[in-house]
Amino acid sequence: MEWEDMVMEIIPMLAEGLSNGGGLGLLGAGLGAGLVTFGGAKGIGQLAASALESQARQPEVAGRVFTSMIIAAALIEGFTFFALIICFQISGKVFSTLAAAGAGH
């Protein structure tokens, strides 16, 4: 029971400590950017794998397959970048709030 009580005390302390320096916001932005990269890279890797396989099977359509692969990769990368922009905005807002708080003090 005692270590449970200690854990129940530590978690709010951690949350308060993280939120003081904007840590939670930066944590969210950083984790978000990493997860988005993971999803996008997995999708584009699968796309490239099937494109390469079809080019190896039928070399005469290799040019068209390459064009379609580039277009699909750019579209996937497009919404990867949406999330990246959101992460930039979160961290920018955290920094500007920190600057305002720092200058105010």
Partner: protein, 305 residues
């Protein structure tokens, strides 16, 4: 991303001050963003004239001069640099526009050519160190920026695409209605209504009538999201590339000890390699923007019923 142009009033001191007192890589994030934000050069009335606007004017001038000189020698077979330009123009028309737009290619090709080359030259001028050249020659270090690294510029281009898509789609519907022998005012109104009717795929029977409003709402949301995605894709690719290059180069001022010499070499090599990638991204994003524009215009203009 707020107060973009008020940077010079705030001064850079507060942000770098905080970063320097914390003493580690906050400096990288703080300053790397800054070199893609627009800087005010002077004021025209209440509106600021930024470095990105200057680059857009420069690009407009380049396109006007280069392509006008190219077109002036029209009957002559193109050689040399003219062949290079004509190859690019031919690729955009035959490789990108004609497979999608078939008989409407010549109607839209001036817009599509302008879009492609405007975006391409803007992206490429962002990679050329015009700031350093102007700084070393004239002492003005912040004269040029990258226009497509600004969401307003890409949103304006996407707005143009949106207007082109819907107005040309409605015009096609009006012309189609004219072929049925209706007079002009009736044809315009009928064309306008039939354009909305043809937004939605046709489902026969009572189910089609019931589902029509839902599909209409979905298609309208889609029609708003597609240009939005065009704008954000171009903006995010170019801005993220510049921020990455800036972050790598700013590793040197962030680490001010004996290790700084060793840190710079991989930073420079990485920046060189990334600049090649950014070159590819410049061409690719211009091609993707143009290709998707052609696709959307083709979908709006060709009779898909």
């Amino acid at each position: 991303m707020d107060d973009l142009v008020g940077q010079q009033e705030n001064g850079n001191d507060e942000r770098t001050g905080i970063a320097m007192t914390s003493g580690h890589t906050l400096l990288v994030l703080g300053d790397a963003m800054e070199h893609v934000l627009p800087k005010r050069l002077f004021l025209i009335g209440p509106l600021p004239f930024t470095d990105q606007m200057l680059v857009m004017l420069v690009v407009g001038g380049i396109l006007l001069v280069v392509f006008a000189l190219d077109a002036r020698r029209y009957p002559m077979v193109p050689t040399g640099f003219r062949m290079f330009l004509e190859t690019g123009l031919h690729f955009v028309r035959e490789g990108v526009a004609r497979p999608v737009l078939k008989e409407h290619t010549d109607r839209f090709i001036p817009f599509i050519w302008t879009l492609f080359f405007f975006i391409l030259v803007n992206n490429l001028l962002g990679l050329v160190p015009l700031n350093a050249i102007a700084g070393l020659l004239f002492g003005q270090w912040h004269l040029f920026g990258t226009a497509t690294a600004n969401l307003s510029v890409t949103a304006a281009l996407a707005g143009l695409v949106f207007v082109t898509i819907h107005i040309s789609g409605m015009t096609e519907e009006c012309r189609h209605q004219r072929k049925y022998g209706r007079s002009w005012p009736v044809a315009v109104v009928m064309g306008f209504l039939m354009y909305w009717y043809h937004f939605v795929p046709h489902i026969p029977g009572v189910l089609g009538v019931v589902l029509f409003p839902f599909f209409l709402v979905l298609e309208i949301i889609g029609a708003l999201i597609k240009p939005f995605a065009l704008a954000i894709r171009l903006f995010a690719n170019i801005m993220a590339g510049h921020i990455l290059l800036g972050s790598l180069l700013l590793m040197l001022p962030a680490i001010r000890n004996l290790a700084s010499g060793g840190v710079v070499v991989p930073g420079l090599l990485g920046c060189t390699a990334l600049s090649f990638l950014e070159l590819f991204v410049a061409f690719l994003q211009a091609y993707i923007f143009t290709f998707l524009t052609c696709l959307f215009i083709g979908a709006a203009v060709s009779p898909e019923h």
